[in-house]
């Protein structure tokens, strides 16, 4: 592998890692703060991708589709939190697994009713359609750099929100101790709704910006959900920093595995997970 090819694979793995981080951060926040296992998290990613395709083909602009799609999915997430999830915060994980598995079925079927079962492509906006030349023979698409940029911007925003703002302080307090936080007069219901909407929003945005690269297809949610679980398990549940590092690690192992050891590539990340668990059963950054 020459330097330029190595650089391309490195950029690809960082881009994939950052995308996984967007999803895993939502999953780990929702679990860490509300204690809810959300198997339907992958469905929000799928929803994002389908919204991007649908809105972009109607409005003709991916940027507009992303803005509208984010708003729609956040509203959708809030409604679900209010109607369903809030009844399950104090219930057993088993009940949450069942509830969210039922939701996967419902979302998959609704997707099939509204959008059909075909694979759809989403065109990269003209502005971002170019490639950057790395050497005479190799170039890298601008859109992938743009994806990474968006993810980095959102990750920094999330970090600032949680560690620097008043709302973030309340979120951290809520994760630490529900009763005490409520006793201090903080509206924990409001915090839950915000966190849930944040998680859904991040997953949907990830789906929307990934749509032009991965195309839009049924079952895309389940695949990404399982990778998210691997990331959360490696990083340590509830830890956003752990999710970031684990996501980048998984991105590296997966991308370079496909190039260097294609026969066993799909298993490598699970091997990585097994090794981490043998060494640290609670993940790398258990809080």
């Amino acid at each position: 592998m020459d330097i330029a090819n190595f650089l391309i694979q490195l950029l690809n793995s960082v881009q994939y890692g950052l995308l996984l981080f967007m999803l895993a951060a939502g999953l780990t926040l929702i679990f860490g703060i509300m204690g809810v296992v959300n198997l339907a998290h992958g469905s929000f990613y799928m929803l994002g991708a389908y919204l991007a395709w649908s809105l972009a083909s109607k409005t003709g602009s991916l940027a507009l589709a992303i803005v509208l799609g984010t708003a729609l999915s956040v509203v959708f997430g809030l409604a679900q939190e209010r109607i369903l999830f809030r009844h399950f915060y104090r219930r057993d994980h088993l009940d949450q697994v069942l509830l969210t598995f039922g939701l996967i079925y419902i979302f998959e079927d609704l997707r099939s009713i509204f959008w059909g079962d075909e694979v759809h492509g989403v065109t990269v906006p003209a502005l971002l359609g170019d490639s950057i030349r790395l050497t005479d023979t190799l170039s890298y698409p601008v859109y992938r750099l743009f994806m990474s940029g968006i993810c980095v911007a959102l990750a920094i925003g999330l970090y600032l929100l949680i560690s620097k703002t008043r709302l973030g302080m309340k979120i951290r307090a809520g994760a630490f101790n529900h009763e005490m936080t409520e006793a201090l007069g903080i509206n924990i219901k409001f915090i839950h709704a915000i966190v849930f909407a944040l998680g859904v929003g991040l997953a949907a945005v990830a789906g929307m910006i990934a749509a032009p690269v991965s195309s839009v297809y049924p079952n895309m949610g389940a695949q990404v959900l399982i990778m998210c679980f691997v990331v959360v398990v490696i990083g340590g549940i509830g830890s956003v920093r752990g999710a970031l590092i684990a996501a980048l690690l998984v991105g590296l192992v997966d991308t370079f595995g496909k190039v260097l050891l294609p026969q066993v590539a799909s298993m490598l990340v699970y091997v990585l997970m097994a090794v981490v668990l043998l060494w640290k059963p609670q993940g790398l950054f258990k809080q």
């Binding site: 296992v37 697994v97 039922g102 079925y105 097994a274």
Partner: protein, 348 residues
């Protein structure tokens, strides 16, 4: 905790009378039914064995495995590998080999997964099952995404499994054996230790139980029994594919256990029957005003699951228990309250 509150280890005699009648009906069913329904009910019984194996983890030990289908599928695949193309191999060695393969996989994976707890356990079991799934899905040597055919039913010597009725009764016998074995196990010192781990693992460890060893044994045994079911499935359908070990199959098993009622193994079987029947029912729905309701069985199944988990946490046997139980069930509930109370105290 719902886990403790929804367990139905001891049922009133009246519930057992209903179950015994159902069993008698099952035994004579092949005399009155068509081939289609004989095969359908045999499939339900196989899934009942699979659900019982999960119940040992989920209802008894309190370990929710979201990857149990891996061991189910592995035994089916093992049968496909060892069955020759041109003649039937003997049941008496292919069955132990297939069950052994599942047990070995469960032992190795269990060594890593039982170190984790709660939600971690759920995620890690899913991830490992997915690893097994992709191993078969991506590998042409192992059949790839298309799966493998099994041309012959295993040769049992004494009786002919190619006969659909004989296969049905054989499955029923295995179902009863597994049920009897698991019930004995439940009230043995080993089974009591597992139930103790569900209620409070810290307390069990403080009392000197090596909980890791107990949990690993339960995980391996559950894997082996799931393999037994998977072997029967492969033999019955003559075909295995990666879907057998997929995420949906594992989640279905969890659903069956919950739907029937956890912790007494009969519930798992009832749940498997009810779940398969519902799938059949939803897939057969008619087209109404241009809308093919049967094609959208996932929507109805999803809505059904959401409704059940929201409103009926104790499952079908729990409901039957309440309907028939009277004094006996009040007594059971009182015992449960004592147990949950104990757990609550230990957490404070």
């Amino acid at each position: 905790m719902t886990l403790a509150a929804s367990r139905l280890e001891k049922l009133p005699r009246s519930v057992y009378v209903v179950l015994a009648l159902a069993l008698a009906a099952l035994a004579v069913f092949p005399f009155v039914a068509t081939d289609f329904y004989i095969q359908m009910v045999a499939r339900m019984m196989i899934l009942g064995i699979f659900a019982m194996s999960l119940d040992l983890l989920q209802g008894v030990t309190g370990l929710v495995s979201l990857g149990h289908a891996a061991y189910f599928g592995l035994a089916g695949y093992t049968l496909a590998f060892v069955m020759p193309q041109d003649h039937a191999a003997s049941l008496w060695w292919t069955l132990p080999v297939a069950v052994g393969a599942s047990a070995l996989a469960a032992l190795v994976i269990g060594f890593v997964v039982v170190r984790t707890q709660g939600i971690y356990f759920i995620m890690v079991t899913l991830a490992f099952a997915q690893m097994v799934f992709y191993l078969f899905f991506d590998n042409k040597v192992l059949g790839g995404s298309d799966g493998l055919y099994i041309n012959f039913k295993p040769d049992a010597g004494l009786f002919d499994l190619e006969d659909k009725r004989v296969f049905y009764w054989f499955t029923l016998a295995v179902l009863l054996l597994v049920y009897g074995f698991l019930r004995r196990l439940l009230f043995s010192p080993f089974g009591r230790a597992l139930a103790g781990i569900r209620v409070n693992e810290h307390r069990m460890r403080a009392m000197g139980f090596g909980t890791f060893g107990y949990k690993l044994s339960a995980f391996t045994l559950a894997g082996a029994l799931a393999g037994l079911a998977g072997y029967l499935w492969g033999a019955q359908t003559g075909f295995v594919n990666p879907e057998l070990m997929g995420f949906h199959m594992s989640a279905h098993a969890i659903m069956m256990v919950i739907l029937g009622g956890m912790g007494n193994f009969a519930g798992a079987v009832v749940g498997a029957f009810a779940f398969e029947y519902l799938l059949h029912l939803f897939k057969d729905l008619p087209t109404v005003g241009g809308f093919d309701a049967g094609k959208h069985w996932q929507l109805w199944m999803g809505l059904f699951i959401v409704l059940v988990v929201t409103f009926a946490p104790r499952g079908l046997l729990g409901a039957l228990d309440r309907l028939l139980g009277g004094f006996a069930s009040r007594q059971t509930r009182k015992n449960e309250n004592v147990e949950t109370g104990g757990e609550g105290l230990a957490h404070e």
